[in-house]
Structure formats: structure tokens, C-alpha cells
Symmetry: C2
Subunit: 333 residues, 2 copies
């Protein structure tokens, strides 16, 4: 059994006043004689009194707690996002209640209700990859609990969101490849159905268009294809590919592997750009150029918007698309 903590009436008894007076002395509400006030304050300190936030929560109908739902912790991207969120919330006196969904929508739904039960003051969520129902998210909003989506969003739900500008990120990467003279640029796509996959593909095409390069279907490969390695190999062999842009750093690494097999030199014969600035990108040889999505800033921004909504529910919803940053390393001449 937990030891009983000293509470407000313990102090009241000791100083021979009522709990209300102690409350007033400690919180400054109303007038208390300076003498008693000092006495109460010093005793409180001596006894290590700390107000019970649970009682306050019950009274005020708020918990100073933010619920967070993310797919998982282990990708560097989400760790950084989490760190960004935490940097803001902890500075504002909010606690973080964290749930993972493992990209499984049924778990996401369960988590949402858990958080709602816990009476969190707001929710930040990265929705699962596969999603077809939005009632749980709608319920959060119907409950007047502010909700901010981060990294992924859906047209189905009218919550504020913070995402990364995938179109621009891809565009800047491929634009750079074109500028340094690449004319045959292969693209390895991400998983189907994700808006990020689509937007990065669009950015790729748009950059080609800008440089008046015809888009070729043969040069766009499916990253999820089980024999991706074969695909890359035959693509590199049959075309005079001089540039590559991958949906992720990990997929870019697949290109490295094949290039090494085919004795194609990176960056002299082939320039490569990945996506997400994973730690591996600075450890592989040659170091990989990539697009930084600024996950820390994404998390921080989402947290700021949420706290804003909590403290001022009337402000209009914000929809933020954060700019990306192209990082040039040795995979490019």
C-alpha cells in the first residue's frame, strides 16, 4: 500500500486553520494574514506537501496530459518526432501518455478510447498506414478534445495536421539530379496507397517535366516488389541510368548493392538520392544524399498547434506542410 502523502488538511490541522485557508495561502486566492500564510507555506515545505493533481483534475475536468499515438518507436523518424513533441509538452507542464498502434488500425482505435478514457486534454496521432474508418477520430473531436494529425493525414477527417511536403522534397531532389546533368533517372516507389508515395512520385515527374525530360515507365520501380534487386539490376543494365531517386534511404541502399555488383561507380557513373536522412545514410559508402523531413520540427509544430487549440479552442485549424531539406553527400559528384 502506498504511503499516505501529506495533504491539505494535514497542514490545516497542524496550523489550526481550515483546509480552505491553507488552499488560499498556497494558491494566493483571496486574502490570508501574512503571518498565517508564512506559517502555512513553511510548514508545507517542511512536510514536502505536493498538491494532488488527481483531485484537481476531477475538479477542473482537465488532466494536463496529452495523448500520443504513433505506429512504432523504432524508426528513427518517429523517435525524432517524439523528441520534438516532448520538447514542447514538457516545457508547458504537460505529460505525455503514449500508445503505439503497430500500424494496426484496430489497435489504433483501442488506443484512442484508452486515451479518451484517461481524459487527456488533447491527442496527437499518426494514423496507421491502412485505414478505412474514422469514427474514432471523429469521436475525439466530437468530444471537444483537440486533435492534431502528424506525418499522415486523411481527407476523411477535418483535423489540423502537420505533414512534410513530399512533393517539394522529391522535386528538389530530382531537380538537383537534373541540374548536375542526369538525364536517365530511375525512381523506386514506396508502398501503394500512401499519400507520401504518390506525392514523391509526382515531385519526381514534375522535376523531369521542368527539365524537359520525358517520363519513362521503365524507370519507375516498385520498392515493395520481392525481386526488387533483379528489377534494379535489369533496369541499370538495359538503360543508361545516370541518376536514382529512392522513396527511402533503405531503398537507396538496394541501389548501392546492385551498383556494386555491376561495378557501376557511385557517384561518378550514378548519382543517388534517398529519403528521410536515416542514420545509415552517413555510414554507408559513399555517404548518401537524402531529403531531410525534419521530424523533430514536425513533432514540435504539432505539439504547439495542439497546445494552442487546448488553450484557445476558438482559433482556426492550421494545416501545415513543412518544407524539407536536401542534403548533398558523396553519392553525388
Amino acid at each position: 500500500m502506498k504511503k499516505k502523502r501529506t495533504n491539505i488538511s494535514d497542514i490545516a490541522k497542524a496550523v489550526q486553520v481550515t483546509p480552505s485557508t491553507v488552499s488560499r495561502a498556497l494558491n494566493g486566492g483571496g486574502k490570508v494574514s501574512e503571518k498565517k500564510k508564512q506559517e502555512i507555506i513553511s510548514l508545507a515545505k517542511k512536510l514536502g506537501y505536493r498538491p494532488n493533481p488527481i483531485a484537481k483534475s476531477l475538479l477542473e475536468n482537465r488532466t494536463n496530459t496529452i495523448g500520443l499515438i504513433i505506429p512504432e518507436f523504432t524508426h528513427h523518424f518517429y523517435s525524432r518526432m517524439l523528441a520534438g513533441i516532448e520538447s514542447i509538452t514538457s516545457n508547458s507542464g504537460y505529460q505525455l501518455l503514449i500508445c503505439t498502434s503497430n500500424e494496426d488500425q484496430s489497435q489504433e482505435i483501442k488506443s484512442i478510447y484508452t486515451l479518451l478514457d484517461a481524459r487527456v486534454d488533447g491527442v496527437i496521432a499518426t494514423i496507421s498506414k491502412v485505414n478505412d474508418t474514422f469514427g474514432h477520430l471523429q469521436e475525439v473531436m466530437d468530444n471537444d478534445t483537440p486533435l492534431v494529425l502528424v506525418d499522415r493525414f486523411s481527407e476523411e477527417i477535418e483535423a489540423p495536421y502537420v505533414i512534410s511536403d513530399d512533393f517539394q522534397g522529391a522535386f528538389s531532389a530530382v531537380d538537383h539530379l537534373c541540374q548536375i546533368g542526369c538525364r536517365k533517372i530511375v525512381h523506386i516507389k514506396g508502398p501503394d496507397n500512401l499519400s507520401t508515395t504518390f506525392n514523391r512520385l509526382m515531385g519526381y515527374k514534375e522535376a523531369l517535366r521542368k527539365h524537359e525530360i520525358e517520363w519513362e515507365e521503365d524507370l519507375v520501380l516498385e520498392g515493395s516488389n520481392p525481386d526488387l534487386e533483379e528489377q534494379i539490376k535489369s533496369c541499370l543494365e538495359t538503360n543508361l541510368v545516370d541518376g536514382a531517386f529512392a522513396y527511402s534511404d533503405y531503398l537507396a541502399f538496394e541501389i548501392y548493392k546492385v551498383a556494386s555488383q555491376l561495378k557501376i561507380h557511385i557517384p561518378d557513373q550514378l548519382a543517388v538520392i534517398g529519403y528521410a536522412d536515416e542514420p545509415i545514410s552517413t555510414y554507408i559508402t559513399p555517404t548518401l544524399s537524402t531529403v531531410n523531413q525534419q521530424p523533430f520540427e514536425m513533432g514540435a509544430k504539432a505539439a504547439q498547434i495542439l497546445l494552442n487549440q487546448i488553450e484557445n479552442p476558438e482559433i482556426p485549424r492550421e494545416f501545415v506542410s513543412l518544407p524539407t531539406e536536401l542534403i548533398i553527400r558523396k553519392s553525388i559528384r
Copy 2:
């Protein structure tokens, strides 16, 4: 303002009974006529009634919440540990309240008090690297809040802990190097003052002793040394080094860099083993052999011990040292 949730007395009014009856009907305590019970249950469902855990917490003096303190999120090791912890707590109906210390003890202390204020039912903590005071941790225990240390521990505090067996991990790595014929094995040490640094060094020495190899001071380098690269270079040049064991995968990578400069072939001329099985270890060339500390299992075990302590405070403290796993990859013949 948050919308008012339907509570127990809303239901009571609607069904014309008292709140206590509703409570009994919903929780099964005491006897309620089957008819009313059904009526109450169906109405509760219809109104979407969900009990307010805050009220229950106030009453029961427990919050079904676990506090967690970790240095940071971004190292893969902590992400995995976190995932391990979460896998256990979420299955047992506990929520996770997470704080980061950024390896700063003053922040760690602040976080501890925040968690104590939040009335968490237990605390899992990885203490900061630099630590010289333990009053805050003692206070957690004095408060009868179960505490489990994970990854790092201190003799100064008598809390149960779960750590990785660094001695055995290092021993198995160096033992393996000896077995494949290495006789001149360099070791790059970790940060001073960490027990892990010390224990891995001990494991290194013990393995050498087992194979009757004299320990040489010249072969042990400081990983934190700013001109580490130079040190490695001169060490590899002046000694006929044929094996290397590094405190971390990142430090092992420093050896890769120098070996490449000196045209020393890994693994033919030099066998290398790192530590921690970071993702980079499978992406660098050649893939790096390493020691897996099983962070997921560490987190899970710590969570299990904590939940045990919470539910059964009288059980004796456990002190767990988890075995490591040597992973052999292409950095070894």
C-alpha cells in the same frame, strides 16, 4: 470547454435509481434486480458511458499509470527498450507516462518529482550517465512507489534492476576472436565512469587471459579521444593487429574508416566486432559482427518486474543481468 461526458448519475436519473445502484449494476458488486441491471447496462451502452478513471484514482489512490524516465528516444537501443516496456504495460491496462532526461541529472530529478506528483503507480528509470545524487530515487522508494532501474544501475540505490551482462557480452566477442586465431586484439573503450565501459573492458581482458594472451596497454584506446582516428591509425600501423573489439558499433565504424585508408582488408587481415547491434551494422560494408543486448527483452523484463512489485509489494527484489547474443557477420572470416 470540454463537452460534459455522461456520468453515473445521468444514468441513475434516467432509470430512476440512485447512482450506487448504477455503480453496482455496472461493476457487479452486490445484488441488483436483473431487470434494472439490464436496463442500466443497455442505457449505459447507448449513452456511451465510460467511467471516469480520475474519480476512481482519487478513491483508490492508484492511477494505472507507469512513469518512465529515459535519457533520449533517438538511439535505437532505447527505442527498442521502450517498445519492450510498452508491449507489457499496454497488455496489462497500464498507461505509460514518459519523460526524458537528456542525460542531465537535474532534469532527471525534475522528472522524478513530476511523476511522483502525477501519482504514478511505479517508475522505470534509466539513470543519467553522470550521476552523483540519489535522493530523488530514494524518495520514490520511500514513497512506496515501486522502482525498477534498467540498463544502468548504481550501488547507491537498492532498487531492483535489469541490465545487460556486459562482461559476458565482451567476453564472448573477444573469446570468439581468439578462437578464430586473432592474437593482437585492439579494444576501443567507452566513456569513462560508466559501469558498461568497465565491464566490457574486463570481459575483453578475461577472454585474453583465457587464451593466454598478454594484455597490452597500447592496444586499448579511448573512444572519447578527439583524435581517435589518429590513434587507431598509429595503433594499426605499429602493431600487427589482427582483431578489434569496440565498445559500440559506431566506434567499430571508426576502425572501418582507418582500415580502408590503410588498405587493411576486413575481415581477411582484420576481424572486427562492435557492440549493440545498431541498424547501421547490417548496412556498412562488410556487415559488422556485433553483440546484441536484447533491449526489447530488457524493457519487457523490467516492466514485468515492476508490475509484479506493484501488484505484490512483498515479493523480494529481483536483480537481473540478461545474457547477450553474439552476432557473427561478414566482418569476421
